[in-house]
Structures are given as structure tokens and as C-alpha cells.
Amino acid sequence: MSDVPITPGLLDADFPAPSESRWLEWVATVDHKRIGILYLVTTLFFFCLGGIEALLIRVQLAWPGNSFLSPEMYNQIFTMHGTTMVFLVVVPLLLGLANYLTPLMIGASDMALPRLNAFSFWVFLFGGVLLYFSFVSGHAPSAGWFSYAPLSEKGFSTRYGLDYWALALLGIGVGTIATAINLIVTIVNLRTEGLTIRRLPLFVWMVFVNSFLIIFALPALNASLVMLLIDRQLNAHFFTQLGGGSPILWQHYFWSFGHPEVYIMVLPAFGIISEVIPVFSRKPIFGYGFVAASTVAIALLSIGVWAHHMFAVGLGHAWDYAFGASSLLIAVPTGVKVFNWIATMWGGSIRFTTSMLFAIAFLFTFTIGGLSGVTFATVPIDWQVTDSYYVVAHMHYVLFGGTLFGVMAGIYYWFPKMSGRLLSERWGAVHFWLMFIGFHLTFFIQHFLGLDGMPRRVYTYPDHPGWAMMNLTSTIGAFVIGISVLVLLTNIVVSLRGGEPAGDNPWNAWTLEWATTSPPPEHNFDAVPPVHGPRPLWDLAHPQGERA
């Protein structure tokens, strides 16, 4: 790009003043930073919707026999909660961060395919609106975020909710795949001089690997959604037991997408943690090569573990052992990462910013989620605890206590770069502690609810010993989380208006995005600093020093 000559007179041309219509600017933008912010704002909105749905669920379950929601409404709400959080919050939130940060971190001026980038965002937003439009059509989907056949088939879900669900996810899936392709092309082609693959920031590394995983996994979902739609609209029978179809086939297809999806939802968070922990420990990442390589190992293994969602199906012991083994194996590279993060902090000089607090909370919480994951991979334990509240606890430890805590660390870390202002650390600490305590209050006890025999996805439950108390505790915790989100929103609004100016590099960090202004200009860099190692800004500041 740099050897393209500038059109003569371009720099002196008298451009019209920026349009009055700031809305149009945002709608028409192809700038990766604006698109990234559009993703973040949109997902924050959907996060609030999904959160409200979670609170409705917890109110209904606060005590046995509650009639706050009808069973039909409860089932729509929990389906929408899961679908929203997976497809409209966690994945696009990470894509938004990747969108904003990847070009900056590799010293590029934009993504490789800016128009495709804008298309991805708008098709995602369209999918989100379509999904919620189902409420207006009279009935939201109510077959769960996993929509097991034949419950999701026309015979048992007669209303249009499931069709909206399938079409919405199809749109979102197309957008996600396009973004993944865009990220791969960008990372392969637009790295600044000297930024070899072994010097890439780990966030970019994980985004890179993650994008391949998306390209592998999402088409499986899209294909099965089309098959489901054909079943529902054209009376085919891919997933009904009549006429040669099979309900189990849906499970294979769905989870061959669905388990890589779990790692799609967590790998970028690993990347965030791998940036935040070194900077606030004032040390390079411990074992860069191992952290990067373990990501590849996780991605490859994640393709071969899907049937661990199906141990209760009765596939036979050989299947169960094979998928149990691969699922157990995935704990090893994940453990390698955790130990490397700990070793990075060891001997460091740690600043406990809000970002770092979330990163440390991530380590602790995610480890618990990972360990309960190991119990599922130990096949016979899965036979006992699957589809109980134990699973609800496990997956929230991974996706909320893991991914979302990681994202929170990232938001406090990069908000100054995006806005030019620091988030308030005082409000940040309040937010952190409320969310941390609320989270564990809500979900830890659900492990025991599951072990005490409470199935998941029930709109109410009998008054068995302890169940009422445990559910009420969980509900109280959920409201504490709700308050913590309000604190976050307040912090964002207040800091945007009157936060402390950030400067280019408030954390004294060392990756390229901190070498430009905050917020960066539209073209990102006036000059990209030279890159001789994985920490270009550290190298600039320590010309004779150690180069880790």
C-alpha cells in the first residue's frame, strides 16, 4: 500500500466540512474502528436485553411454584437468553474487539476488506433484529438455544418462532464467517514490517486461530439451519425419525458447530488476558511460544470433542470413551495457558487496576469452570450431572466468569484508546467487586442444585429440601450482577463526558496500538514504529535493555 503515489493535489484539496449528519457517518462507515465500536455498542445493548431475560428467569425460579411467568413464556425467555448471549453478545463482542484492535496491533490502517467488514456488521444486526422480531410475530422461539429435533420440528413447534430463530442465526452466521475471513486476510497480508508471526501480539494470535475455527464451525451450523428450515417449510424429514431421518443427526451437526463455538467464545478472551496480565505485571508473557501453540492445540482438539454433549444419548461406550478422551486432552493445553499466565505475574510488579482485577478473577473463575468441564469429560460423571443445574453452573463459569470477565478486563484496558479517556478506577473497583461477588453468589450454588437433582430448563420445581433456599440465593446473586452492570454503564457514560484524558499510552504498554493517539486518527498511524520483537514500544523505551 505504501508505494501507491498520492494523487497530486489531494493533500491541499479543499474538502467539504464533515457532514452534519453524524448518524449517516456511522451508518456509511467502513472504518474498522467505527465498525468495532458499532459492534461493541450493539452487543452492549443485546447484553442488557439478555441480562433482563436472565433476571426474569431468576425471578420465576426464586421460589418453588412461582407463577410470575407462564411455562410458555419462561421457555421463550430462556431460549432467547441463551441465543442472545451466544450469538448476539459473546461472539460479536469479541469480533468487535478484534475488529477494532487487530489493524492497530499489527500497524495497519484498516482491515483488508473494509466493505465486507461493514457488511458483516449490518447482516449481524439484521439477524439480531429478526430474532427479536419473533416476539412481535406472536411467539419467540422456545426450543432452547440448541433447538433439539424433533421438538424444533413443525409438529411440536407450530408457531413461527423457530423459523425466525433459524433465519436470524443464518444471517448472523454469514456475517461471522465473513469477519473471520477478513481477519485472516488482514493478519496475513497487512502486518507492518518486522512484525513476523512469532512477534504477533498474543491477542492477534488468538484472533487468527479463532478465525480458522469460525470458518470450520459456522458453516456446519448454517447447513443444519437450512436443513431445519427445509424440514419445517417444505415438509422434509432430515431430523424426524419418520421417513429415514434422525433426531440424533441434528445433535451431531449442531454440536460439531456448537463445541468449537465454545472455544470461539473463549479464545479471544484468552488473547485479552495474554495482553493485560503482562502489561500490569510489567513482565513479558511467560512462554510466548507455549501460549501461542497451546491455542492451536485447543483449536484442533475442539473440532473432535462435540459428542461429549451427547453422552446421555446412548451412542455406545466406544463413542463415549473416544470423545471423553479428546475432551480430557483439551484440559492440558488450557492448563498450560493458565500456568503461563500465573508465571507471568510471578516476580512481577503488579498494578491492581480494574482491568487487572478482572484478569485475575478470570484466572480463578475460569479454572473452576475448566475443572467442572473435566468432570463432564469423565464420562460416567457426565451421565449423572448432565442436563442438571450443574451444567448451568459450569457453562456460566466458563462463559461469564471466563469470557465475560476477560472482556471486562479488555474494556477497562482499551476504553482509553477508543475514547481518549480513562474509565473511572473508583467506579471500576465497585463494578468489579459487585460483579465478582454477584457472579459467585449466583452460580456457585447451582453446582449443588444440580447434584441435588434439579434438572435445567424447568420453569418451576417441587419444594425439595434446600432447593428453595439455593434458588433464592442464586436469584439474589443475579440482581447483584444486574446492579454491577448498571455501575459499568454509569462508569462508561460518566467517563466519556468527564473522564481523565488518557494520552497515547496510559498503561505504559508495549504493543503498537499504544503508539498512536487516543482515539487514533482515521488512518490509524502517522508513522508505525519499527518492530524488532514482540514488544515494540518496550524496545523503543529500552534501546540497550533486555529484549525479551
Binding site: 510489567r282 512462554g287 470413551y321 510488579s349 503488579i350 498494578r351 473435566v374 449423572q384 442436563d387
Partner: protein
């Protein structure tokens, strides 16, 4: 009722709990290996002054250590999981003793050898290995009695199996554990473990046809049962013979609970259930027939006579 996996009542559930306990020790060890260093770091390495700490970028020996140890631990768990799986699932060597079929939202329970059929209440003799076949009539359900053993899915077009050997007489509650639609929450059931003699007499009684009521409200109820649409879905062996859609009512009065554990089976509850099934269990397949008080009385009398 107590339904915790921590109070197993069968060798199967005991094996599962044993594996759980071992796994907890392993996980507890790893959690300690992560948490204790973090706590130490938080206290010890808080920032003091502006000096940058020594820049250490890795250590290959350490990497090998924290790769090998977890690998050994998960290998250990894998071997144990095979051992437990084999102890829980024996070879399926014969026809099932009981066939349980999941319906939206109740369980059909058949004893093929005795030609007995009931609903939402599975009687088993204690001390005997019972093979239970699990099927589904509509969507996927899942059979789970936490104190007696593993979950197993009930899948339309397919028969799964589970072995259960109840050790002590008593009632063990179970539930559908696979989301199956509006009333998934009230698709519960119970296993009643009995001494073999009591079990045998129960089975004989269940296999018998209903005794036609001779007179009174129950006799009138029998007439109304046929005239109203009850008989289109429900079977009372000896009184009517229909293709079964709803639960078999031949010996409904002998059951402890109604509507898949939703209500205790008392005359009052039964009458109330007939009056407003859609209030008690919204979206259930049992229709509200707007029965008159007279019909309610005679139908309740009929059903109460079906011991």
C-alpha cells in the same frame, strides 16, 4: 423428597459417586495449584516504586512439568472412567423387564412379561438387577433418577437401556432431564422399590383388568366416561379398549401422585384436576372439558374405584 446424588441407593449410583469423589480430589488439587500461587502473588508482588522487575520470558523445564502432570492426571481419570462405565452399564443380555416410554409430559410404564401397564410410577423389586428399556413417543426426553443411577435419553424411534438395582425399599424420585417443551418441569416420576413379595403382588394386581363398578356414582361415571371424550385417549382395561394416547387409568387409584408428580392423588385433587387441568398444568394435553359438577362427581367416583 431427597433426590441428591450424594445419597446413592443402588450399586450403580454408588459407583458414580465414588468416581465423583476421586475426580473432586484431582480437581481440588489442581484448583489449589492455581489458587494458592495467585494468592501468594497478589500479596507478594504488589507494585512498589517505578523499577521494572526482571524480564523473564519463559522456562522450558517448567512448561514440560505443567504439561506432563495434567496429562497424567487426565489419563488417570480416563482409566477410571472406563472402569466405572463398565460397572454401571452391564451388557444387555435379555429383553427388558420394564419398558418406560416418555410422552409430552408423562411416563408410560409397561411390564411386558406380566402384561401390566401404568404411568409415572415404576415399581421395582429390591436386590434384583432390573433392565429398563427407555423409549419416547414424541420428542426426546431423558430418564433420570439421581439416587439410582445414570441418565439415559429417551429418543423416538430407538430403544435405550439402563440397569437399576435398588438396594433398599423406598420411593426414589426421578425427572425428565432433557428439555421437551412447555411442561418439561412437570414431567417427573417415582421409582417405588419394594420387597420382592410386595412387588409380585403389586404386579399381579396391575396386570388384572379393572372391576366394573356395580352401582352408585362410579357406575354412572363409567357411562359418562364413555359418553364424554375421556375414552378417546384413556384406557381402562376391562371397561373400554382404546388405542392409548393418555396415561392408562386401569388402576389409577393405586398410584400415589397425579399428572406426573404434580399433585398428590387424593379425591379432592383428582376432581380439581378434572375441572381445570390447564390451570394446574398449563399447555398439558389433557383438555378442559368444562365438566359439570355432576360429571365431576361421578367421574371422580369411577376413578377412585379403580384400585
Amino acid at each position: 423428597m431427597h433426590v441428591s446424588v450424594f445419597s446413592p441407593a443402588s450399586p450403580q449410583a454408588t459407583e458414580l459417586l465414588w468416581l465423583w469423589n476421586v475426580c473432586m480430589w484431582v480437581c481440588g488439587f489442581i484448583l489449589a495449584a492455581v489458587t494458592l500461587p495467585i494468592l501468594y502473588i497478589v500479596v507478594r508482588y504488589r507494585r512498589h516504586g517505578e523499577n521494572e522487575p526482571p524480564q523473564i520470558a519463559g522456562n522450558k523445564r517448567l512448561e514440560i512439568v505443567w504439561t506432563i502432570i495434567p496429562l497424567a492426571l487426565v489419563g488417570f481419570l480416563f482409566v477410571l472412567s472406563i472402569r466405572t462405565a463398565r460397572a454401571v452399564d452391564h451388557h444387555v443380555s435379555r429383553e427388558p423387564d420394564v419398558v418406560v416410554t416418555g410422552h409430552q409430559w408423562w411416563w408410560e410404564v409397561a411390564y411386558p412379561a406380566a402384561n401390566a401397564i401404568t404411568a409415572n410410577e415404576i415399581h421395582l423389586p429390591v436386590g434384583r438387577d432390573m433392565l429398563i428399556g427407555i423409549e419416547a413417543a414424541d420428542v426426546i426426553h431423558d430418564f433420570w433418577v439421581p439416587r439410582l443411577g445414570r441418565k439415559i435419553d429417551a429418543i423416538p424411534g430407538r430403544r435405550n437401556f439402563v440397569w437399576i438395582r435398588a438396594e433398599q425399599p423406598g420411593d426414589y424420585e426421578g425427572a425428565c432431564a432433557e428439555y421437551c417443551g412447555a411442561q418439561h418441569a412437570w414431567m417427573r416420576f417415582r421409582v417405588v422399590a419394594q420387597l420382592p413379595a410386595a412387588y409380585d403382588s403389586w404386579l399381579t394386581a396391575q396386570a388384572a383388568a379393572a372391576i366394573t363398578p356395580a352401582s352408585g356414582d362410579a357406575k354412572l361415571g363409567q357411562t359418562r366416561f364413555g359418553e364424554l371424550t375421556c375414552a378417546n385417549c384413556h384406557n381402562i382395561r376391562g371397561i373400554n379398549k382404546q388405542k392409548q394416547y393418555g396415561p392408562d387409568l386401569t388402576h389409577i387409584a393405586s398410584r400415589k401422585m397425579l399428572a406426573a408428580e404434580r399433585l398428590e392423588n387424593t379425591p379432592g385433587n383428582l376432581k380439581n384436576w378434572l375441572r381445570q387441568p390447564n390451570i394446574i398444568k398449563p399447555n398439558c394435553e389433557m383438555p378442559d372439558l368444562k365438566l359439570s359438577d355432576g360429571d365431576l362427581t361421578v367421574l371422580t367416583a369411577l376413578l377412585e374405584s379403580l384400585k
